[in-house]
Amino acid sequence: MQPHLILVAHFDYQTMTTQSSISKRLDSLYEFDREPVTKNKLQGIGNFLGMYAGEHVAGTEFVIGMLFVAHGVSVRDMFLGGVIGNILAICSWAFLTAPIAVKVRLSLYWQLKKICGSMLVFIYNIVNALMFCFLAGAMVAVAATAVGIPFGIQMPALHDLLPNSIGWVLTVLGVGAVITVMAILGFDALARFAKVAAPWMFLIFVAAAIAVLPKLGVAPGSGNFWEVARESIWTGVAKEGQSQFSIWHVIFFSWLANAAMHLGMSDLTILRYARKWQYGFSSAVGMFLGHYVAWIASGILYAAAHSDAPGVVAYEAIGLAGAICVVIAGWTTANPTLYRAGMALQVATGWSRWKVTLLAGAITTTAAMFPALVMKLLDFVALYGLVLIPMGAVILADYYFIPRMGLQSYYAEKKKIDFNMAAAGTWFLMLALALFMNFYFKIELYFLPAPVWIISLGLYLLFSKLYQKETKSQTA
């Protein structure tokens, strides 16, 4: 008996009812975008430029640029590695995600449902929700480093992984509670506020970096920026207790920081509104403003600071405007993340929106108490991409290669199955393999997503060949 048949055989009536109810809840949640986007709803390039610029100048940028400095990235690694990595990211959006998005014009959810079936999408959503909660948690912690300044709380340092003081825990609880309540009361208003804040936030990054240059010894007209950068900012020597980064770390991290969106195909949901696949290149705005200029700016800020806490770093540089920027950056990044987590959890629990947002907020706030989320943000971001990208490879393989092999794409929809074993096998096996490579061979998380994505492509094709043949022979 094939594994999927064993699975089906063990389903009792109650399980089937639950499964059907989950499927209905998922469908109703995404009901509004069930059909492909129609021509009259397509958007111009301006919307994409604005969206990518806003989305990638976020609270995470404060931390990532700072951690690159802590990991001993050199000047050349930062500037050259950043350009190469970001170009690779833009190409991934433009050549992999956008072409499928404009041809199919379906959201990630419906695309996955047609390929994988309801139950597998349900599991994917839950994993995604937990990831979102942890990401929002990191942003709550970032905001707390600014909110805690007037109370004189002991801020976490680079080596802190556990809560370091009662003051820190209480500040995080307060910030988490406020962010959660505001997400419940007015998600839409906050989402609009985030768009308003984005241009100002970018400017604050740049302005703060300029403001600290005299502290680092860069004088106007002296032409000594590169010398100071080499000796005091990106020194090429990691801080105590931090692993040493090379140009490869910068390239792979810059490329795959948003792997879930491009290689993982999450942005099918956005790019399906694009008139042409070339709109995928609009991601360049977000990459070069947020993942290049802002990372460089936050590295400069950190080099001039006396703290590892982003709030204190920004406050020292430019005063209240800097502290406000850290709070808003953390808050506006946590807000949509909480919303997305809530949507996924709503399907699992069947609760109303306010209850699931409260649950997501509670998970987020608890996670935020652990400074590890911020201080190990690079690892977490890499893990986030790694966990989700095998499903992006499944979508790509299903679109381009499955029909050419004489197999059926959208297999779950055509065969009316809720759990595509070929997709599930690919996902779970690749995650197990990645963890094994990380634990036993000590391959760092930053380098795993690219090979995992490529192997996932091949594995899904192989599994589909076996699985579709077996299913055909069972039904014959």
């Binding site: 768009k195 100002w200 509104y273 405007a321 406000i324 920027c325």
Partner: protein, 59 residues
């Protein structure tokens, strides 16, 4: 009214960016720079929220 909001927002952004440049050039003190940047922040949000807050974009 929209014109005034737009003007406020742009002025807010400008006085957020200019003080650090003047400070870097040695033409402004640190405390004054911080104060003006804070005022620029208030001005930006006072103008930008009514100007850009209702604009519809992809989500």
């Amino acid at each position: 009214m929209k014109y005034i909001y737009r003007l406020m927002a742009i002025a807010g952004l400008t006085i957020t960016l200019v003080p650090p440049i003047l400070y870097y050039a040695g033409s402004m003190g640190e405390e004054r720079m911080k104060l003006i940047m804070f005022l620029g922040t208030l001005l930006w949000f006072s103008g930008a929220i009514p100007w850009l807050g209702k604009k519809k974009t992809i989500s």
